[in-house]
Symmetry: C2
Subunit: 214 residues, 2 copies
Amino acid sequence: MPTVSSEELAAAAGVNSAKLRKDFSYLGSYGTRGVGYDVEYLVYQISRELGLTQDWPVVIVGIGNLGAALANYGGFASRGFRVAALIDADPAMAGKPVAGIPVQHTDDLEKIIDENGVSIGVIATPAGAAQPVCDRLVAAGVTSILNFAPTVLSVPDGVDVRKVDLSIELQILAFHEQRKAGEEAEAQAGAAAPAERGDQGEGPDGDVPAVMPA
Amino acid sequence: MPTVSSEELAAAAGVNSAKLRKDFSYLGSYGTRGVGYDVEYLVYQISRELGLTQDWPVVIVGIGNLGAALANYGGFASRGFRVAALIDADPAMAGKPVAGIPVQHTDDLEKIIDENGVSIGVIATPAGAAQPVCDRLVAAGVTSILNFAPTVLSVPDGVDVRKVDLSIELQILAFHEQRKAGEEAEAQAGAAAPAERGDQGEGPDGDVPAVMPA
DNA sequence: ATGTCTTTGTGAACGCGTGCACAAAGATGG
DNA sequence: CCATCTTTGTGCACGCGTTCACAAAGACAT
């Protein structure tokens, strides 16, 4: 029986082994003292808790470049997601297959949601179309929405929305990039740095504002 | 002079006003007591600190559906990012314009990076091509990489990598979706829930494991 | 000028999550 | 069957970030 210790896993993941054990203990006591965790069983338990063992039918609305990229994305199937349907407002797209799945017209949205028992919807439409599409999804029974459109969606209570802004990650990189450049300049110029900001010493991330994601 | 108080902003953002003031104080003392913050000046200061006032030339490598979607994404320009070049390994793509920018061949990668002073690269290639592309970007002087390919990239110290996994957000939604369903079932069935897990009471997010992003 | 009123900026307290450290549990060997 | 060794599971303490609460600062009216 192949096993792993919390120590090995912690080293591999770069975290503290005690924290890892505490997190695992949430799943129950699946480890064996003096031995470690049964790999296969552990993987199964984590998968189950995360919902990876379930089948999640999803619909993607808005089959532009991004919608097509999502439809083709291989990572979905392995994580329990099944693209139940692709939906687009353009009649010219209807019937055309993308990633092996025929695109259907927005008119049939409600029917598609209902027939496939879809509870998760992905919006990859232009900004203007997002809210109306969202409303129709919710009305049809969708309770979780992944929004790629650059708009804040308003939904009734009980519906989860997650907004993905592709430029936020770039912004985080640029922020760190700027700090790299800034530190070099300060190291060189010394007195050139304005005192106004009140730097309170260094540390790897000491002066990163709290509003900035790590 | 249009102003906002920390209280108004906090209410709009759904956070504590004291925290907001403390975060702002990182930028210096730009507020006026009894009045609030000068909107225009505040926006400028935040933009500057976040690096939004700088011009960040970026290259996108791998012009498939996702690369094209990124190239067309409107949110970049408004945040200080300028797509300096699109690069693809397919010779048939070379010269073809995507989002008004002609695609260039991978052979010229180093020259493009150098001539445009690019320090941020976006990888939207298939998994297999990601690491080699990454190596070449780094060798050419790129110090920040945004990786959309489903691979963990290894880079030398001093280079930042951020990995975007489009299915992670879906997984988070599915996790919450599962919990919704689970709670309903428990509420109905009562004793049907296994005691093994040791639920320690309720609370909106009380039993969400720490490993799960909020 | 002086007083009142609003809102900032921040010291101090609180609470929560992380990490330490150890007892309990089980394997393994003699 | 007992001793020893390894690794888990967790109580406890520490540290950090959030929040409270208030003094200081400035606007504005009289």
